[in-house]
């Protein structure tokens, strides 16, 4: 049975294909359209999924959409009415999109892919819950989902057992931790739905001296739930997500080009701490209700690796699972699996051990792309490749590393990665100046051999999807200065030999040379662009940056 899952029209559009309960292909539309966080109908991703799944369009048994459009539409209309007349302009801008495609998904499917069969709609947060629990290794687990907003819900918790998911409680719009985070992100001068990670990075640089002010605008109840004081926000009222009252409380907002001051770092730190406190409170309540050791997290908020690690550290849960595409792109996966496992009552037969579900390319295709761009290259066997690249990395060279299938989700996990030497204290500046052009406060993440993760980081659990941030052990800090954030933490990826053997062997070779089983791993893209998908994208990225080497499978290109 072939189920096509789709998420789109808000941000991070994606498609995935489930064949007999197993995930065979999944990718975000942005990787093909080259429009970051693309919200468009994922036509490219769908084409890819069908072709990668070696099925035809007529073999699709069911298409599942990751939310209920009419329910969401009711929230949009009601919230705009409530905010009238301030919301009128927003309303006029939003409505055509709803009428054009968002409310007529079956017609869009018929038009775009010729599909006339059954279309199902699963609630947004249920899709999130399913995207985590149904691919987790747990038979039974507590589930917590949180993001900006789905239809009405902004946070849900419940329990999963076998192939069933029960939602116990929902917190609804406009009370949303995700929207709070995004509102402060825009207040701090970053782009909504893109800059949240930057705020998380900025938080590490500040002191949480504004937490009381956040307590003033968000009322937290004894059961862990919360309420946003709407006088401080303006979610539907105009161009800003925060109100004048918010500015009066926190001071002038930072303009996107403005200087980052200490105050901005402190606000970010306070927001981060405040969100973590609320989440820890809710998770403790959830444990009391479920008394289960396993926790599944999903929704954009749980791309926040600092919060995830704090939840793991400070709550009674012993095991945690966060799916790599925890944001809306993963909704496509959850919706499809929910239909297969829960609605159709098929037992679960799949655990997500890795995130490599995107396109891959043959050596012939890679060579062709290199020749087309007039690049000379060397083809090296695996053993020599690992030795050679590890040696170059140890000499502070920056490597574009393109291998196998592209990752599903926002993190580059060793198949579309830029790699560097973590032992070099100046590597962040080098990467920023030569390639990434990032803000200086943002740290780079370490990819560590799974077996050595605890030796270097205060990490009790594996973090294969780079979704846990842990403190670097005191005695190792001087070994890996390139990946330590100012607060002493690092966003760790633990690399498993079976899940990604080429990446594992490369890190191992690096360890043989330097004694450090870690590499700097950052996404293979330039500022403002999606992660590369094809060899062509990788070559263009390589040519436009100052990377020293490009490794496409076993073909090595050296920058002249």
């Amino acid at each position: 049975m072939n189920i096509l899952g789709i998420s789109c029209y808000y941000h991070d559009a994606a498609a995935c294909l489930i064949s007999n309960g197993k995930l065979v292909a999944a990718a975000q539309e942005e990787r093909f359209s080259r429009i970051k966080n693309s919200l468009d109908f994922p036509i490219n991703a769908i084409n890819y999924c069908i072709q990668a799944g070696e099925i035809t369009f007529s073999d699709i048994d069911c298409v599942v959409f990751y939310e209920k459009p009419f329910l969401k539409f009711s929230r949009v209309v009601i919230s705009h009415l409530k905010a009238y007349p301030f919301s009128f302009k927003n309303f006029l801008e939003t409505m055509p999109n709803w009428l054009k495609d968002r409310l007529i998904t079956p017609l869009v499917l018929k038009k775009e892919i010729g599909y006339k069969g059954r279309v199902l709609f699963i609630k947004h947060h249920l899709s999130h819950a399913a995207s985590s629990f149904l691919v987790s290794p747990f038979e039974k687990a507590a589930i917590l989902t949180a993001d900006g907003v789905g239809e009405w819900a902004t946070m849900t918790y419940g329990v999963g057992q076998g192939n069933q998911i029960t939602i116990l409680k929902e917190i609804c719009y406009p009370d949303s931790l995700g929207l709070l985070y995004t509102a402060v992100t825009t207040y701090l001068g970053f782009r909504p739905l893109r800059g949240e990670g930057k705020v998380m990075g900025l938080a590490g640089c500040g002191k949480s001296r504004y937490v009381d002010k956040f307590r003033k605008i968000v009322q937290v109840r004894p059961d862990g739930s919360f309420r946003l004081d709407q006088r401080y926000f303006g979610f539907n009222k105009g161009l800003r997500m925060y109100s004048v009252k918010f500015i009066r409380l926190f001071g002038r907002a930072r303009s996107p080009e403005g200087k980052i001051e200490e105050r901005h770092c402190d606000i970010a730190a306070s927001l981060q701490q405040f969100i973590e406190e609320i989440l820890v409170g809710i998770v403790r309540q959830l444990y009391n209700k479920t008394k289960n050791d396993n926790l599944c997290l999903a929704g954009g908020l749980f791309l926040n690796c600092v919060a995830n690690h704090r939840i793991l550290k400070e709550t009674p849960f012993k095991n945690i699972f966060v799916q790599p595409a925890a944001g809306d792109s993963g909704g496509a996966l959850g919706a499809a699996l929910y239909v297969y496992n829960t609605i159709l009552k098929n037992s679960r037969n799949y655990v997500m051990h890795h995130a490599y579900f995107g396109p891959d390319f043959s050596t012939a295709q890679i060579k062709m792309a290199l020749l087309k761009h007039g690049l000379s290259f060397r083809e090296i066997n695996n053993q020599l490749l690992f030795k050679y690249i590890a040696r170059e990395l140890s000499q502070d060279k920056i490597i574009g590393w393109f291998q196998g299938r592209m990752e599903f989700g926002p993190r580059a996990l060793g198949n579309r990665s830029i790699l560097a030497n973590p032992c070099n204290p100046d590597i962040k500046e080098l990467l920023n100046s030569k390639v990434k052009k990032r803000e200086s406060f943002r740290p780079y993440a370490p990819a560590v051999l799974e077996e050595k993760a605890q030796e270097f980081f205060e990490l009790q659990h594996l973090s294969p999807f780079m979704l846990l941030a842990a403190k670097v052990r005191a005695d190792k800090k001087n070994l890996i200065p390139g990946v330590i954030h100012v607060d002493g933490s690092a966003r760790v990826q633990s690399v498993n030999k079976d899940a990604n053997s080429k990446f594992w062997y490369l890190i191992k070779e690096f360890e043989n040379i330097t004694g450090v089983p870690i590499l700097v791993n950052t996404s293979f893209n330039l500022k403002g662009e999606p992660i590369v998908c094809t060899p062509e994208d990788a070559i263009k990225c390589f040519q436009r940056s100052e990377m020293d080497y490009l490794v496409l499978e076993n073909c090595v290109v050296e920058k002249k």
Partner: protein
């Protein structure tokens, strides 16, 4: 073995060849700059950077198919030569898109036994209706081209004729779509050929197309048998438009699969066999193709296969090395004369 094209290869080796594609200099249409890159490649780069990547998707193809699916007895007419590209096109139409195709093959008297066997196997395995048309109609014209040492490329009037014939067949059965197995290198403009014209208007074809046109203009006037013969592909399309508004598509323009992938499928599913004798290597063509290649090399220094391969190289779908290898002349005089005998001609 007396490799008949060796002198032409030698000629090509001494000729200036584009360092990016495989086209030799052939002024005024094809010329190389100081970096030995041809004007076609330079023009391609300019157009490409101006237009950006214009990716087409399988769903674009499906959308077009769905416009016509189920509206006539046959959903499409598949031009099937028995080669890998057209056989796989027939396979895709039947199995991947679940259409009801009518397979159409013609034989002008020079088709190979291998190709015909592949067609037979494919239509039998797929269980599709099959229309086979055999005629000597073109024989006199082919013979004239050889005997007069015309620069007209034999394949051009043949393409004009069989395309016209295909449109006629589509009109007769009221079929809305013609499916060809053309690769991305065999047409300049996509996705539908009937809307856009065909690739003989490319600069690389100017000289060849001009000679063919001149030959057809004078020859068809003299011979009443060919009085209604179209003088160009453009004319075929104009005539076809009047008869039946059908479109011409190739699945290979829309599918990302490489040749190896679909060759494996048709080998396994349709008992397809690669030809024993072919030029370029690993392609299936009629016997006249060898004569056409010989003449093209003699008159122009390159063939339409060089044009196709060059386009594939520019698109990043074929390496230059592979192209040069597949374009090496590998047939002998004996074979040419055996074929030419049917046309009362002998190569000295």
């Amino acid at each position: 073995m007396d490799i008949i094209g060796q002198e032409n290869i030698n000629q090509m080796n001494t000729q200036k060849i584009c360092q990016r594609c495989v086209l030799p200099e052939n002024k005024p249409d094809v010329w190389l700059n100081e970096r030995k890159i041809c004007n076609i490649c330079i023009e391609y780069e300019k157009t490409k950077s101006a237009q950006g990547d214009n990716k087409v998707l399988e769903t674009d193809f499906i959308k077009m198919l769905n416009q016509y699916k189920g509206k006539a007895k046959y959903d499409c007419l598949v031009m099937c030569s028995g080669g890998k590209d057209s056989t796989s096109a027939l396979y895709y139409m039947k199995r991947r898109y679940k259409l009801n195709p009518l397979a159409f093959t013609f034989d002008h008297g020079f088709e190979t036994e291998d190709a015909m066997e592949n067609v037979r196997n494919a239509v039998e395995t797929l269980g599709v209706d099959f229309l086979f048309f055999k005629t000597d109609f073109m024989k006199d014209m082919f013979s004239e081209i050889l005997k007069t040492n015309s620069k007209a490329v034999i394949c051009h009037p043949c393409s004009i004729w069989y395309m016209g014939l295909t449109f006629d067949m589509a009109a007769r059965f009221n079929i809305p779509i013609i499916i060809a197995g053309w690769t991305k290198g065999q047409s300049t403009k996509q996705p539908t050929m009937s809307k856009c014209g065909c690739n003989i208007h490319q600069k690389e074809f100017y000289a060849m197309a001009k000679s063919t046109r001149e030959f057809l203009d004078s020859y068809t006037k003299k011979h009443s048998k060919y009085k209604n013969f179209s003088k160009s592909m453009e004319e075929v399309l104009i005539r076809a438009k009047k008869k039946n508004k059908c479109i011409v598509l190739s699945p290979h323009w829309f599918l990302p699969f490489d040749t190896m992938a679909y060759v494996e499928i048709i080998k396994k599913e349709l008992k397809w066999k690669p030809p024993r004798l072919s030029y370029p290597k690993k392609t299936t063509n009629c016997y006249l193709n060898f004569i056409s290649v010989y003449n093209s090399m003699k008159h122009y220094g390159y063939t339409h296969y060089h044009v196709e391969a060059s386009k594939l190289i520019r698109e990043g779908l074929l390496s230059r090395e592979e192209a040069l290898k597949s374009l090496e002349i590998n047939f002998d005089k004996e074979l040419l004369n055996k074929i030419a005998k049917k046309l009362d001609y002998r190569f000295d």
